[in-house]
């Protein structure tokens, strides 16, 4: 063992020795500190939330597509929210859209995507035994779980869950008398989200520390897989932006429960003047969107990282522009902090300020286009292998481009006057952030399922699932752009009062049918997922013939991931189809001295470095896997 013990190192180890005892069921599967178990916990919780969240969207899509339909058949589930004539309660409609947004953005695409894959892949791909702090990692999941339980229980309140939109703008969210959803539902929303933020901070701190401190020998930053780069930058985004949401929520809690006036000023409600003077509701929007915009990228960047990896592997080609991919990730992350006011163009802000934010917003098109071109050029003339993961990755590129184009339109402060709060916005962010990230999630699950459970998912069902979902997404969201441009506003229970607005009914019905069919298609995935965990075909060691380190670990890695020494890394992760090499892939842990037939001249010089790499010291948390 070439690891060198240090004084600090031994104290780190001291605490880890307790792991050596045989763990009981609770410590092994429930309150586990193993990153792989925590990742699976995040994944399963995320899947449960996505079923609830998407089912909610189906209910309000039925309301939008068939405004006067008799929904009595939903009474067993929704109870009092369906009235005697079979109509959906308008207040509950608002609660449904709010909860759909909250659940999908935070609980599914933040916790479910980032929580699953950052936890699972960071230690396995950088060559670490576990996260920097297994305890904090466990805490992170259980904070998320508690947040989930609270949010879930708010669905069953007499007054319903929060209903002020997922952005919870005050004064609507700050005044319990403003709406029934602003009563107990809003309180639970705030409590749940506070716990959620704590969970994300604990998780993010752990991801960053692990990537910086626990890389194996030779795993320099320029040899990190792009997945890790994406998770790393995502975690930094979260670390910087989530405390700001906490701030905003804290002041909102003071306004709601202690009577302060941070966001409230000169309000009459039911003919009665409130005592609050001197607050500013716009202040909340600034604070909220300072989180809210980076949040979009917290959701999207992990998906982009996952697809970079999958597209390179399944094109059997090196990723095109590795450094450009990293630079564009960093560029997008940086820009995401200085564009928040483009959500607020119509709040009466100074038009000059509006054009500054418009300019900054449109610059995001540059790094995004770099990514889109690099994906395409990686695919170009590759030996494409159309696994379900690959299909979903290519689907992501398609959605990323489609949704990105409408972003350029929405980023214009003048056009936004017409498009603000219409279904055009809804279509835009559902494609570019919702569906694209969900595709990243699917791609990741299909690709790393063998590593997670040691079994393969069914390929044919995966293909069917992809094509139904892909066509479904476009059938739902393409027509939505049209009704948005025509002026259909979002968050309306019904919009059939006027002749012109009833003309949208056909299209809305079409969208709803497409949405229901896409929802049903997801059950193929659910069946495939849960069936394959128990009955899937046994996975080979490296099913996708991939280069990254996780495939060098045992098929069912134990706690500590590698048996014996952690493999050192000698090359970048994208040596696919290298001229001269006998195989079309060379894993990262194969030294250049073993591949003289395919080495480039400068790589031959690297051979001298191999001894040095092997002598490097690194943080090995505990010596043996167990």
């Amino acid at each position: 063992m070439s690891v060198v013990e240090t004084g600090i190192g031994t104290t780190v180890h001291a605490e880890e020795h307790e792991h050596h005892e045989e763990q009981n069921f609770w410590r092994k599967y429930i309150f586990s500190e193993d990153h792989k178990v925590i990742a699976k916990q995040y994944l399963i919780t995320g899947i449960m939330w996505s079923v609830i969240g998407i089912a909610m969207s189906v209910v309000f899509r039925i309301q939008l597509g068939f405004p006067n339909a008799n929904l009595s058949w939903l009474k067993p589930v929704l109870g009092q929210w369906i009235n005697d004539t079979g109509q959906l309660d308008p207040n509950f409609y608002l609660a449904l859209v709010t909860m759909h947004g909250t659940i999908m953005v935070f609980f599914v695409l933040t916790a479910g995507l980032s929580g699953t894959f950052s936890n699972f892949l960071i230690p396995l791909q950088i060559g670490a035994r576990d996260m920097a702090s297994g305890f904090l990692n466990m805490l992170s999941y259980w904070f998320f779980f508690t947040a989930s339980v609270i949010m879930f229980s708010s669905l069953f309140l007499q007054t319903g869950p929060a209903a002020g939109g997922w952005v919870i703008y005050p004064p609507l969210s700050a005044l319990p008398q403003a709406h029934i959803g602003s009563q107990m539902g809003m309180t639970l929303w705030l409590v749940s989200m506070t716990l959620f933020i704590v969970s994300q901070l604990l998780g993010g701190i752990n991801y960053i520390t692990t990537v910086i401190n626990l890389r194996t020998r030779g795993m320099a930053f320029n040899r990190l897989p792009l997945t890790i780069w994406a998770f790393f930058i995502t975690a930094i985004l979260g670390l910087i932006s989530f405390p700001v949401l906490l701030s905003a929520a804290l002041l909102l809690i003071f306004d709601r429960h202690f009577g302060t006036s941070f966001y409230l000023s000169e309000i009459y409600i039911n003919g009665e003047a409130l005592p609050n003077v001197g607050g500013s509701p716009i202040l909340f929007q600034h604070l909220f969107w300072f989180l809210g915009h980076p949040e979009v990228y917290i959701v999207l960047l992990p998906a982009l990282g996952i697809t970079s990896e999958i597209i390179a592997t399944n094109s059997r080609k090196p990723i095109f522009g590795y450094r450009a991919m990293i630079a564009s990730l960093i560029g997008i992350a940086f820009l995401s902090f200085i564009v928040w006011a483009h959500h607020m163009f119509v709040t009466g802000m100074n038009p000059f300020l509006g054009s500054v934010f418009m300019f900054l917003t449109l610059i995001i098109a540059v790094p995004s286009a770099v990514k889109a071109f690099n994906y395409t050029t990686t695919l170009w003339r590759g030996n494409l292998v159309f696994t379900p993961a690959m299909l979903f990755s290519i689907g992501l590129v398609s959605l990323f481009v489609t949704g990105g184009l409408t972003g350029i339109i929405l980023g214009n402060s003048a056009l936004d006057i017409q498009l603000h709060d219409t279904y055009f916005v809804v279509a835009h962010f559902h494609i570019v952030m919702g569906a694209a990230s969900a595709f990243g999630l699917f791609a990741g699950v299909y690709h790393w399922f063998p590593k997670m459970f040691g079994r393969m998912m069914n390929n044919t069902l995966g293909q069917i699932h992809f094509w139904l979902t892909f066509t479904g997404i476009y059938l739902v969201f393409f027509p939505m752009h049209y009704i948005g441009i025509a002026g259909f506003p979002r968050r309306y229970y019904q919009f059939t009062t006027y002749n012109f607005s009833s003309s949208f009914t056909d299209l809305n019905a079409f969208i709803s049918v497409a949405a229901i069919l896409s929802f049903l298609a997801q059950f193929i995935f659910l069946w495939n997922f849960f069936y394959s965990i128990f009955k899937g075909k046994k996975s080979p060691q490296n099913p996708w013939r991939s280069n990254t380190l996780e495939w060098t670990a045992p098929i069912n890695p134990g706690h500590g991931n590698w048996v014996g020494e952690i493999p050192p890394v000698y090359r970048w992760p994208y040596d696919y189809s290298k001229p001269g090499a006998p195989e079309d892939f060379i894993p990262q842990n194969v030294p250049y001295s073993q591949t003289p037939e395919s080495n480039l001249p400068h790589e031959n010089e690297e051979i001298a470095m191999e001894k040095v790499i092997e002598a490097q010291n690194f943080n090995d948390q505990f010596k043996e896997a167990h």
Partner: protein, 194 residues
């Protein structure tokens, strides 16, 4: 910590080997910085809109600032003592730090009472509310700091802190200094933009 042989040619980049636990503390500090940065910028945005109550900050907050600054100095003394295995000094210094920390909290509370006497309430004009939120949030973090300090103190009295086992002491010192700097920032911010 570095044992790689000296080489004439370019060395491959070492993986950074900072203690992960200390690194976690720094990231935790980043998130606290963001929390207060957003609070103070909210303060500025709101203040620019006018309708702002102006009042004199009670003088006790200046005294408490001095007390916290002193406690930070004693913390550093405790750290140096631990480094030199001077256990007598370590115990004295860390105890004084803890007492000064408690005194600071008590003085902040007295400051709140004086504010109330001046009719600056938590509920009312946001200028007053912000003052309570800043001091309260800082106080909350200071309590967490006192807990960390208490752990270190107990460890010091059980002779578990010495030159070969400094990590806990380092973490505690860093966090305590940070809380001191954070308060200095908040205090001068409030003085400047009152």
């Amino acid at each position: 910590m570095n044992t790689a042989q000296p080489l004439t040619q370019r060395q491959p980049e070492e993986t950074l080997s900072m203690d992960p636990k200390k690194f976690i503390l720094w990231l935790f500090i980043v998130s606290i910085v963001m929390l207060f940065a957003s609070q103070t910028s909210a303060y500025l945005v709101r203040r620019a809109e006018g309708n702002w109550l102006e009042y004199q900050i009670p003088v006790i907050f200046s005294y408490s600032t001095v007390v916290l600054f002193l406690s930070s100095l004693f913390m550093q003394w405790a750290y140096y003592s631990a480094k030199k295995d001077n256990f007598a000094n370590l115990k004295i210094a860390i105890s004084i730090t803890f007492v000064l920390g408690m005194a600071f909290l008590w003085m902040q509370f007295q400051g709140w009472k004086e504010l109330v006497a001046m009719k600056v309430y938590f509920v009312g004009n946001p200028s007053g509310s912000f003052f309570y939120v800043f001091t309260g949030l800082h106080g909350f973090h200071l309590i967490s700091g006192l807990l960390v300090l208490l752990y270190a103190l107990v460890a010091a009295f059980r002779m578990k802190v010495h030159a070969k086992s400094l990590r806990q002491m380092e973490i505690c010192t860093t966090y305590w200094h940070f809380l001191d700097v954070l308060w200095l920032y908040l205090f001068f911010f409030l003085l400047t933009f009152n």
